[in-house]
């Protein structure tokens, strides 16, 4: 099957092809998700090399366990989950958070002008102060505002109840606002 046709297929259909022996079709999955996953991993790890390793290892782990993918879940959530675990393992090993200087300035370019005011404002704050938040809040905020995942998808990725996601998001926003106000006041 040529690349143009593969590109038109859904994730699940491509996965089905790979599981049936079309190994090369997996490259389509990698191409589709490498950028969003790298962006997500960079926000978690603050280091492009570590992010690259985590995503690459994630893709390979996902390939090995493609047969365990549960179609009742979104494939993208499953893939994010795997990369999230890889990133968390790296964080645990490292146990230190790198400064925000290494963060790519992705957020500003992603702002869609049709998005609501709150989302845009929070994205701006996120870009500046995300690394000052604890990991559990940073993860939820990144997934919700940067990766634009729904509560259900975040719940599937982080394996947390939706209520917990909502609580973390609310607390994260409140902490972020405090950090923002403190920094604004200091200027």
């Amino acid at each position: 099957m040529d690349q143009a046709k593969l590109n038109q297929l859904s994730d699940e259909a491509v996965v089905d092809l790979v599981c049936r022996g079309n190994q090369e079709a997996y490259a389509t999955i990698v191409k589709r998700y490498q950028q969003p996953l790298l962006r997500y991993a960079r926000y978690l790890l603050s280091n492009p090399d570590d992010a690259m390793d985590a995503v690459q290892e994630g893709f390979i782990a996902a390939y090995k366990y493609l047969n365990s993918f549960n179609p009742s879940m979104k494939f993208s959530s499953w893939l994010y989950r795997i990369v999230h675990n890889q990133a968390m393992n790296t964080l645990r090993k490292r146990k230190n958070v790198v400064s925000t200087d290494e963060l790519p300035n992705i957020v500003a370019t992603k702002i869609n002008h049709e998005e609501d005011q709150e989302r845009r404002e929070l994205k701006r704050q996120l870009d500046n102060h995300l690394q000052e938040l604890p990991t559990k809040y940073r993860v939820v905020l990144t997934l919700y505002y940067i990766e634009e995942k729904s509560y259900q998808e975040i719940s599937d990725i982080l394996r947390m109840p939706i209520n917990t996601i909502a609580t973390h998001l609310s607390r994260a926003k409140s902490q972020l606002k405090k950090i923002y106000q403190m920094n604004e006041g200091a200027l």
């Binding site: 090995k64 047969n67 719940s155 947390m160 939706i162 917990t164």
Partner: protein, 221 residues
């Protein structure tokens, strides 16, 4: 000005898959793994129930909470007779079971608090039933397994057991560790529950050994 080069991960991932001969795990392998984890969880639950029921049984027979009735003086016997090892093991197994359960999809959709509560209640309920059925009485008669039920908390200043002989001046009791001890009642012995001890009554006492007799400062039943 430098421009970020977007990495083409597809090539490197596919190259690694090919050169390292990475294969997709078969559904059978994954299913075997899932079944093994399920069986492990089942065994973990069974072990949690057994350990918790031993803890409950030992609490019932050693009666640590009864010593608190004596006031501050009863604190030490309470701490020493509480089956800490079994309680600790029970907590550890329940937490381990909960951690394993957390990896199942249903758990995060249901909510962890509910899962933990349900798991604790299930283990405690089953442990209570196991204890009430009388399995421990049976096991405690087996020479090899008796050690599980022997209190390590018997001290020189407290004693508990069942009265086998009773008189005005004292009584003879059998401790949970099957030792016979003569308890001497003096004028200063506090007997707030009265002194009408009958054979078969379970008593707890604090005091000290004097000439091979346990001179009671207080007795309750």
């Amino acid at each position: 000005m430098t421009k970020d080069k977007k990495p083409d991960m597809a090539e490197s991932v596919m190259a690694k898959i090919t050169t390292d001969h990475i294969c997709i795990k078969s559904k059978t392998t994954i299913m075997v793994g899932t079944i093994a984890i399920g069986m492990g969880l089942g065994l973990l639950v069974a072990l949690s129930v057994i350990i918790t029921s031993v803890a409950l049984h030992n609490i019932a027979s050693w009666g640590p909470f009864g010593y608190l009735w004596f006031g501050v003086i009863g604190l030490l016997p309470f701490i020493q007779t509480l089956p800490w090892v079994w309680i600790g093991l029970s907590f550890a197994l329940i937490l381990l079971g909960f951690k394993v359960l957390k990896h199942y999809d249903f758990s995060y959709r249901t909510g962890y608090r509910m899962i933990l509560l349900t798991f604790c209640c299930t283990v405690l309920g089953l442990a209570f039933i196991v204890d009430k059925i009388g399995i421990h009485q049976h096991i405690s008669r087996q020479p090899l397994l008796r050690q599980i039920y022997i209190s390590t908390g018997d001290g020189n200043h407290w004693m508990s057991g069942e009265v086998i002989i009773a008189s005005q001046s004292g009584m003879v009791i059998v401790t949970p560790n099957q030792q016979q001890v003569v308890i001497r009642v003096t004028k200063s012995t506090k007997l707030p529950a009265g002194s009408n001890f009958q054979p078969g009554t379970k008593v707890q006492t604090i005091g000290s050994f004097v000439d091979n007799f346990f001179e009671a400062e207080g007795i309750r039943f």
